[in-house]
Every structure is written in C-alpha cells, then in structure tokens.
C-alpha cells in the first residue's frame, strides 16, 4: 500500500470519528456518496479507457521530449501553457494528464499542468467568475496567480531532488 493511500485512510478515520462524536447524519453522507459515485465513476472509467488508446496513438517521444525528465525546468512553461489551453472540465483535463504521465512526462511538469488548468480553466471564468465578480477581479486574480503553476513545478522539482515521492510510474 502506498503512503498516499495511508495518509487518506488516516484522514478518513479522523473524519469518521469526528462525525460520530458530533452525531452527524450518516444518511446524508451516504446519499452524497452514492450521488457523486454515480456522476463520477462511469465518466471516469470511459475517460481512462479513451486516455489509454490516445496514449498508444500519439508518439510518446514527442510528449517526453516536451515534458519529460530530461527537459528539466524548460518543461514547466510548456506544461503551464498546456494547462492554460484546456477549456474543459476535470474529466478531460485529467484524462490528458494521464496521457502525459503514460508518455513519460515528469512529475513537476504534471503538477504544473494540473495546477495551471485549475487556475485558468476558461469555462469556469466564463460561467462563474465574470458574471459574479466582473472583469476587474478576473484581471487582478489572473495577474496575481500567473506564477503559481510555475512555482508549484519548481518546488516539485526541488522535492524531486530529495525523494521520488509522488511519482506516477504506476501509469506507465
């Protein structure tokens, strides 16, 4: 069992204990669980299958040449730009990330890609941010956060020098 799963399990046990102590309504928890499971899992499965085929079709060398370990820090701006141009929800963004991982993208590049997508996701900006807060907030937020994906990748690179924790080898 991986350390990541252990961390999650400990977290889960802590939450369940708290919920029991606060006498929370587990009916609501189960309801939310089943509803989310229904929405997520079928899409997740077909997206992963599609990602598996795409990873076979696209030339792995091309992806590895742009985002791989050997490219080093230069992979980070490429990954940030890739995250910027995915104007879709998490199913597609993470399916693309899985394809990148299978093609040999480095962990810092993957972190930069996902972080960049999560900050800039265009559909969210159009549906929520501009209607609710307006253009001037959008401008402020984007300028403030534009470096975040790159800094995330840099920190991940430094962590990578110390340990191989967080790798996605199991996908390859």
């Amino acid at each position: 069992m991986s350390i990541g799963i252990l961390v999650l399990l400990v977290f889960l046990v802590a939450l369940v204990t708290t919920a029991i102590m606060q006498q929370r309504d587990f009916g609501l928890v189960l309801q939310r669980f089943i509803e989310q499971f229904g929405v997520l899992v079928p899409r997740m499965l077909v997206a992963l299958i599609a990602a598996g085929f795409i990873a076979q079709i696209i030339p792995k060398e091309a992806i590895a040449g742009l985002l791989g370990e050997e490219v080093g820090l230069l992979a980070l701006p490429v990954a940030a730009a890739a995250g910027l141009v995915v104007p879709a929800g998490p199913v597609i963004a993470f399916a693309i990330a899985a394809v990148f991982a299978k093609s040999g993208a480095s962990t810092p590049a993957l972190i930069t890609f996902i972080t960049s997508w999560s900050i800039f996701a265009a559909h969210r900006i159009l549906i929520y941010e501009i209607p609710l807060l307006g253009i001037s907030f959008l401008r402020l937020r984007l300028l403030s956060a534009v470096l975040v994906p790159l800094v995330a990748g840099l920190i991940a690179t430094m962590v990578g020098l110390l340990s191989s924790f967080g790798g996605t080898d199991f996908l390859q």
Binding site: I3, G4, I5, V7, L8, F11, L12, L15, A19, Q22, R24, F26, G27, L28, V29, L30, R32, F33, I34, E35, G38, V39, V41, R43, L45, V46, L48, I49, A50, G52, F53, Q56, P90, V91, A93, F94, A97, A98, L110, I111, T115, S118, I119, I127, Y128, E129, L133, G134, S136, F137, L140, R141, L143, S144, A145, L147, V148, A152, G166, G167
Partner: protein, 203 residues
C-alpha cells in the same frame, strides 16, 4: 434510521442513474470507442490489446482509491458549515487573512457554484483583495474536493499528496502579489447564489 429513507425512493435512484448516464457520459463513451478504432487501425490489434490490458490494471487499482476519496469528500461536504465560513474568512486582515482564506478555500466543499458564491459574498462584504485572491486560488489549486475526486483516482494518492503540499503556500503568495498590484478593483454588487447541484463536480 429515518435519514436513510432516500434508499427506498425510486425517484431518487432514477435521478442518480439519469445523472450517471447523461449526455456527457455517452459523449465520452463515443470518444473512447472512436479512439479505440483509431488505435486499432493505426497501431493494430497488439497495441489495442495492450491499451485495454493496461486500462484493466489501472481500473483495478483505481477502485479502492475512488471509494476512499469519495467517502472523505462526502464527509467533508456534510460536515463543513458553509454559511459560517464567509464570516470566518472575511473578518481577518494582515497575513492572517490570506492564511485563513487559504484554509477555507481548501475545504470548501462542492464545485465552482459554491466557491464562487462564497467569493461573491466575501467581496460584497468588503474583504480585502488579498483575501479574495487567496480564497479562490486555494479553492482552485488545493480544493480537497478536486484533489480527492480527480487527482487521487487519475494520478495516484502519492501524487495528490505531493501536489497538495507543493501548492500549500502558493495562494498566500498570490495574495501578497495581489495586494501589491496597482490595479483598481471594482466588484459587481449583485450576489446571485446558484444552487449547488449534482453536476457541480464537472465545472
């Protein structure tokens, strides 16, 4: 217990099934089949079989992760006091403000409809720009919901933990930048709270 009554409600089950196999599911299905055919015609049966075998292997590893992650996400969703969060975040200034906002952003359950409504409430109640930027950046990069439901199943639990730790200080960095940027900020005044629906996770 009375609160488990929904399990015997056929309308509720119908709704769950309907949202599970909606248009976007069939869209992804069609894409998977199309790429499968493309893979078969370009790379032949061997590569297609390898892809399917790998998928099977990944799916097998995926299920326990999905179950744990979804359990945590559901618990957080039920336990988080969304109404009290705005007051908690908005009251803080200095460096404490962005730090509390980061924490709140990370644990805000639900998709963008809940986080952006809360952000709009914060903005209209006069929270400073550092707090606003920290909150929404934290929700985007550190949101537990997203990390649990998407990072964990697709990229593995270790990767998810690494990404969370790496991104932890960054909303505060963004807040400090936001406070120094010479931009005028004009927030729209109307606060339209959209009900958080089931499709939320897909935005």
């Amino acid at each position: 217990m009375n609160s488990f009554k929904f399990l015997g409600n056929p309308t509720w089950w119908k709704r769950v099934v309907a949202s599970a196999f909606g248009i976007s599911f069939w869209g992804f299905c069609a894409a998977a089949v199309a790429f499968g055919i493309l893979c078969f015609s370009l790379k032949g049966g061997g590569a297609t079989q390898t892809a399917l075998q790998e998928d099977l292997h990944i799916l097998f590893n995926l299920m326990p992760r999905v179950l744990i992650a979804l359990s945590i996400a559901s618990l957080i969703w039920v336990m988080m006091p969304r109404d009290r969060m705005a007051a908690l975040v908005g009251d803080n200034t200095g460096l404490r403000g962005p730090m509390v906002a980061t924490l709140a952003g990370a644990v805000t359950p639900g998709g963008p409809s809940s986080s952006y409504s809360l952000l709009a409430v914060l903005a209209s109640s006069g929270a400073d720009r550092g707090v606003l930027v920290a909150y929404i950046t934290a929700w985007a990069t550190l949101g537990m919901q997203r990390i649990l439901i998407w990072d964990v199943p697709f990229m593995g639990a270790e990767f998810a933990v690494l990404r969370f730790v790496v991104c932890l200080p960054l909303p505060i960095l963004a807040a400090l930048i936001a406070r120094r940027l010479p931009l005028t900020l004009q927030i729209k005044d109307q606060v339209a709270a959209t009900p958080s629906g089931n499709k939320d996770a897909f935005k």
